[in-house]
Amino acid sequence: MAATVGASAVVVEDLVKRYPKSETNAVDGVSFAVAPGELFGLLGPNGAGKTTTVGVLTTRVRPTGGRAEVAGVDVVRYPVRARGHVAVVPQRSNLDRSLSIRNNLIFHAAYHGVPARTREHQADELLRQFGLFERANVKPDLFSGGQAQRVMIARALMHAPTVLFLDEPTTGLDPAARLFVWDRLRELKEQGVTLVMTTHAMDEAAALADRVGIMDHGKLLALDTPDGLMRSQIGRSTLDLAAPCPDAETADAAIGKLAALSGVERVERLDRGDGELGVRLYLSGEAPQLVAPAAALLAEHGMTITDMKVGTPTLEDVFIDLTGRTLR
């Protein structure tokens, strides 16, 4: 996107939004920048402030404080110009129900001043790419969530936006539709389109995003590449162990000893039914190093390990680490 080479495609600085009659800030001092051509993910639970942040950047939410720019345009001072640079794929279909999907694309382009000769040709090309050409003259009423999502992405591309915003692009889609959307997003990224997406799906953020910002309660808690975020968990792992256990007292004693092993941060009891001890060890180091000492310790209590599983950290663990709770 020639206009912004070298500069950031999106800049957010100390962004604050408090909705009227609300006691707390929906967005509470968030700052980040997105480079041209980057696929940026905002990850967080519902109500974290992701959608509000995107709302500000797409001129639909007026911020209480701070600064927000898209393609070098201040979205608060010059909303009309900013709208020419952005495209939005919302969470729920907002397609024009009075128009066929082809006309949805064509009129969208007309709103954005794409010349008449190019818009029809472009609409057909995008409809083909998105596997919608056969249904081009159908009105969107009868479309499934996945199909509507595809139409909305195609529509968003009609005016060649500098930045494409996607709000929870695959929420509620079946696995096939989800993979289709992922593929399209990867293609767009290869073509140099800057993408900003919100998601509460860890795997989605990890699979697609160049960088991920983790949000909760209106604050940006961490911002890094998925690998970088997981590096904070490096070496961290979990070790699940199961062993037949003679009685509850022995089990309690063993758990106490396991918790005292060096490298074990926490022990969680897993429900394995009567006569069986199941534990998950949260480790500060690599799991294999703990296998021998744990086995020896259990053997001292007359138990032999019958099942064992090593877990590696995911973005979910990063999130739990940052917020102290799970995403869903």
Partner: protein, 268 residues
């Protein structure tokens, strides 16, 4: 994918183009549903004219000349109601459920222009509907009270009536919560319909003083009265200049409230 060159334009040019494209979208959709549009526009005044003008007159329940008095009132009613319905119903639905309006709100034009487009389009539809009343009246009644000398005032009243309805529609469409739309319409629509002096001339209400006061509050009254001034000046009516002044003032108030409401719904 096509190599798409980024188009970065500023303000006025892009806004004008977007505005016209949105207007074209509305005209395109209306053209596609022309029979529906005509039925929606024609049916109500057609029946009112037929029952009140023709049936009651033929049966001798109304005096001779009542149809002439009713006709300008029904043109006024059509002007106000058509644009109000054209604007309010879709607006409530678009903001409340389908969110269809978002694509237009994200087009490169000021938010207020999207509201202005709605008003202009609704007024256009309503003006067409009002003009259609002339042949319909002629067909149903056999003759309509038409005088060429009244044409300028007739035109002014059609335009003001259409804009008044659009203003009302904008206020209702942005202030009413989607889940209240049914209640709101019965509470607003019915009184508006019957206190707007379309079925009786305002000065004749002197015998029913309290009702005369009530009808004076309804701005539609001034459209009906102005229309009578244009078409049946022999019937006592409120003087046209008062009608124009009151209507312009009402328009100012309604548009201010309506556009504010629109901004509140469009930008959080």
């Amino acid at each position: 994918m096509t190599a798409l060159a980024p188009r970065v334009e500023d303000g006025a040019g892009s806004a004008r183009r977007a505005f016209l494209a949105i207007l074209r979208r509305d005209l395109y959709v209306t053209w596609g549903e022309l029979p529906v549009f005509l039925a929606q526009v024609i049916l109500q005044p057609l029946f009112l004219l037929f029952v009140f003008g023709k049936v009651l007159g033929s049966l001798g329940y109304t005096q001779r000349g009542y149809a002439d008095l009713l006709f300008p009132g029904l043109v006024a009613l059509t002007a106000v109601i058509t644009s109000m319905q054209t604007l309010a119903f879709p607006l409530v639905v678009e903001f409340g459920w389908t969110k269809e309006i978002e694509d237009r709100l994200l087009a490169p034009l000021p938010t207020g222009w999207v509201a202005a487009e709605k008003v202009i389009f609704a007024a256009l539809r309503s003006m067409i509907a009002s003009l259609l009343m002339l042949p319909i009246g002629f067909l149903v009644l056999g003759s309509i009270p038409w005088r060429w000398a009244g044409l300028p005032l007739f035109a002014v009243m059609v335009v003001l009536g259409a804009l008044l309805g659009a203003g009302l529609g904008l206020v209702i469409g942005t202030l009413v919560q989607p889940n209240r739309i049914n209640v709101a319409f019965s509470l607003i629509f019915t009184p508006l319909l019957f206190t707007g002096c379309s079925q009786y001339p305002w000065p004749s209400l002197e015998r029913l003083r309290w009702f005369q006061v009530v009808t004076a509050i309804n701005p539609m009254t001034y459209v009906s009265e102005g229309m009578r001034g244009a078409l049946v000046p022999a019937v006592p009516h409120i003087s046209p200049w008062i009608c124009v002044v009151v209507l312009l003032a009402s328009l100012g108030v309604l548009m201010t409230i309506g556009v504010r409401g629109f901004y509140r719904r469009a930008v959080n």
